[in-house]
């Protein structure tokens, strides 16, 4: 459950919470720490993405990695993009892309939605299984016409890894695969309750 905090957190507390994979947000006028999955459930406000981008990212994440929507791929990516580049835990930070990373995501999501509109006169998030998979396959192979984002196979690779991070990179994700997490230092809670 979200843990209410009585006072506005300091920058260090926010950084620390972010470092633990938590989001620090205002809900109902109270500062709270949420794990990405909790933020997803609570419909927490997003710092970076527009509602359209958010819908596209969540849908793409879920189609690439089933379960990642519920695991919180959207608030996870949104929060990490809002963090300072040196605090960012997204894989993109060591894939040779200059920070800030938001334009990479924004243009990629926009290009995917534009491709869905061009082919099917529908936002990507509302596509049925078959046309969505067809678009993703074309994106993965760099075969989408008029693609106006980062190289589409690379965008696919990055988004797929973000979704895998949220789905499989947590204690809960390891457990779902039957892999003992065996931490020296645990990432507190699913992603973490501040203790």
């Amino acid at each position: 459950m979200p843990k209410p905090e009585s006072a506005k957190p300091t920058r260090r507390e926010i950084l620390k919470a972010g470092g633990l994979g938590l989001l620090t947000v205002t809900l109902g006028g109270q500062w709270v720490h949420l794990s990405p999955a909790e933020a997803q459930a609570a419909g927490a406000p997003l710092a970076v993405f527009t509602p359209e981008e958010a819908a596209t990212l969540a849908a793409l994440g879920e189609r690439l990695v089933p379960g990642s929507w519920k695991a919180g791929v959207l608030p996870f990516v949104d929060y990490q993009l809002a963090a300072a580049p040196e605090d960012c835990m997204l894989m993109i930070q060591y894939l040779g892309v200059d920070p800030p990373f938001t334009p990479f995501y924004r243009t990629g999501l926009g290009a995917l939605d534009a491709a869905a509109q061009a082919r099917h006169q529908s936002p990507f998030a509302k596509l049925e299984d078959a046309p969505a998979e067809e678009l993703i396959a074309a994106m993965a192979e760099g075969k989408l016409e008029n693609w106006a984002g980062p190289p589409s196979p690379f965008f696919y690779f990055v988004l797929r890894n973000d979704a895998c991070d949220v789905m499989y990179g947590t204690e809960k994700g390891f457990a779902a695969l039957g892999v003992h997490y065996a931490a020296h230092i645990r990432p507190p809670s699913e992603w973490g309750e501040i203790s």
């Binding site: 633990l20 189609r63 040196e86 835990m89 890894n161």
Partner: protein, 528 residues
């Protein structure tokens, strides 16, 4: 955190990784006043959270490195940011270079020669090995050059290691325990490894030899000071341009400070060290410091990683063990022309049975980027129980045109960004192809139901500040002392004239041990 020194000190060291920490320990223990300036933040051990996401904070960061060639060197993945540098996320695979690695030009007419032979470095390998601890078996590792026995027994071998070993055996090839600077038993007050496979996230228990485990504590105990979040932007020189006098740095709170010293050691990793020297140009050194040869920034190499994956009928529990692997094969290492018929040149080795976590760039999920949706779910369930892997470390021919230069773009502190123009030699690409073909054959022989590989990826970065015998074609002498400025030293894998086909950190330490010993013995003449 210590205050930066106000008065002139004996030595200022740029960077707190393998080379910088080693220099700092030896100089401070010799009674020198030493300060280490580290661009990145402090990395307290209790923040080394076991997570492939947290692990990313230890890498890259800092000013972007631009890449303009057909290949990449992957600074973001290979570099380290924070106290301890890249050693904080290194996997401590510590093989030695071989005798032929030091004479590639003489023996084969390609790449370069080192200004020293294996025999010159052997005593320092032995000394570092005793100090830091290596687990291994020097007799079983029949390809290892001469030297002392490893001080600790080999690391344990799991089902994953055993099945890959069977594949090698079926092809008539031998494996040995891999030499790892990871404790297989307690060593010099540091505990044994638990083999839970979190090396990439930094080792909070001190079982893995890195800068924070070994040399930074020694340096501090001997009086050296470490200054995180202090980014050196310029190496300063005397008015006549004949000596370096210290460094200029920016602190995190935006102060521009100077630390003056009799000796400057630049050990800021392979890309940032030449960047700093190039950006420190003066009227007397218009092309950058220590660049009268014109070779500063040149001969950049990177090992082409050759990752092999397979699914095996046995349960292999790949999440555990050491990230660096359990076993080693250097079958063809000593014949750099073993694959010449396909145009390949160079040596390579296999690091066998690396720990594999489900996520992360070196984890299970990215190995099959073609899988998504329910097929990915099924694969993840199967692979997290049955996957096996090994990684080839393939040599890269040293080419003058593979170089680091300054970009017209500047970072927030006004220092030009480094730009790397790197395109691997055809012979290096062919060597990678040969290694991949062999690796897949080994995995099929091991009884995998499926075997596949990842694309060539840059692993380790070397060159750019190469050592040599002549001031006309190299940046430093064999001690890392620059030919042009006698009190300016360079540390790190940037000194390597050739890459070899083994992991560089052990050699970085051996060179730093030799350089720092020379510096202490010749202090008066060095500082002039």
């Amino acid at each position: 955190m210590s205050e930066l020194p106000n008065e002139k000190i004996d030595a200022v060291i740029v960077g707190s990784g393998a080379a910088g920490s080693h220099f700092a320990a030896r100089l401070a223990q010799a009674g020198k006043r030493v300060a280490i300036l580290e661009a990145g933040p402090a990395r307290p051990k209790d923040e080394l959270v076991s997570s492939m996401l947290w692990a990313r904070r230890l890498k890259g960061g800092g000013a972007p490195v631009l890449e303009t060639g057909k290949g990449t060197v992957g600074n973001g993945f290979n570099a380290g940011r924070g106290v301890g540098g890249s050693t904080m996320h290194h996997y401590a695979v510590w093989p030695r270079l071989h005798e032929n690695d030091f004479r590639v030009k003489s023996l084969y007419g390609r790449s370069r020669d080192w200004p020293i032979a294996y025999a010159d470095l052997q005593p320092y390998y032995d000394r570092v090995q005793e100090e830091c601890g290596i687990s291994g078996d020097h007799l079983a590792e029949t390809t290892r050059p001469p030297g002392s026995p490893y001080p600790m027994p080999p690391v344990p071998v799991s089902v994953q290691g055993r099945v890959v070993a069977q594949g090698f055996a079926a092809m008539g090839m031998k494996v040995s325990p891999i030499p790892l600077a990871v404790n297989s038993r307690s060593y010099k007050g540091r505990p044994s490894c638990l083999w839970d496979g979190w090396c990439d996230a930094g080792c909070p228990i001190g079982a893995l030899a890195n800068a924070q485990t070994i040399h930074l504590p020694q340096a501090e105990a001997a009086g050296a000071t470490i200054h995180p979040d202090t980014e050196v932007v310029r190496v300063l020189t005397s008015a006549d341009g004949k000596r370096v006098t210290g460094v200029e740095a920016m602190t995190k709170d935006g102060r521009r400070v100077r630390v003056m010293a009799d000796v400057v050691v630049v050990a800021a990793f392979t890309i940032q060290s030449p960047r700093l020297l190039l950006a420190s140009a003066t009227p007397q050194h218009p092309e950058g410091l220590a660049n009268s040869s014109g070779n500063l920034g040149r001969f950049v190499t990177t090992h082409g990683a050759a990752p092999i994956f397979g699914l095996h009928p046995k349960v292999t529990t790949p999440a555990f063990g050491a990230f660096g692997g359990q076993l080693l094969n250097q079958e063809h290492y000593d014949d750099k022309n073993a694959h010449a018929s396909s145009g390949a040149f160079g040596s390579y080795q296999w690091m066998i049975a690396n720990a594999l976590k489900p996520n992360g760039l070196l984890g299970i999920a990215p190995t099959r980027p073609d899988l998504r949706g329910p097929a990915l779910t099924k694969f993840m369930e199967q692979a997290s129980e049955h996957m096996i892997t090994m990684t080839g470390v393939t040599e890269d021919e040293a080419l003058a045109e593979n170089r680091i230069t300054l970009s017209p773009r500047k970072d927030a502190l006004g220092v030009p960004l480094a730009s790397v123009d790197y395109t691997p030699a055809k012979a290096s690409m062919a060597l990678w192809d040969a290694a991949i073909a062999e690796g897949l054959e080994v995995f099929r022989a091991a009884g995998t139901s499926e075997a596949w590989n990842a694309p060539r990826a840059p692993m380790h970065i070397m060159g750019g500040t190469v050592m040599g015998t002549s001031a006309t074609d190299s940046v430093t002498n064999s001690y890392g002392q620059t030919h042009d400025l006698p009190n300016l030293f360079v540390g790190g894998a940037g000194l390597f004239p050739t890459s070899g086909g083994v992991n560089p950190t052990f050699t970085v330490h051996a060179l730093a041990a030799r350089s720092s010993e020379y510096l202490v013995k010749n202090w008066d003449s060095v500082i002039g």
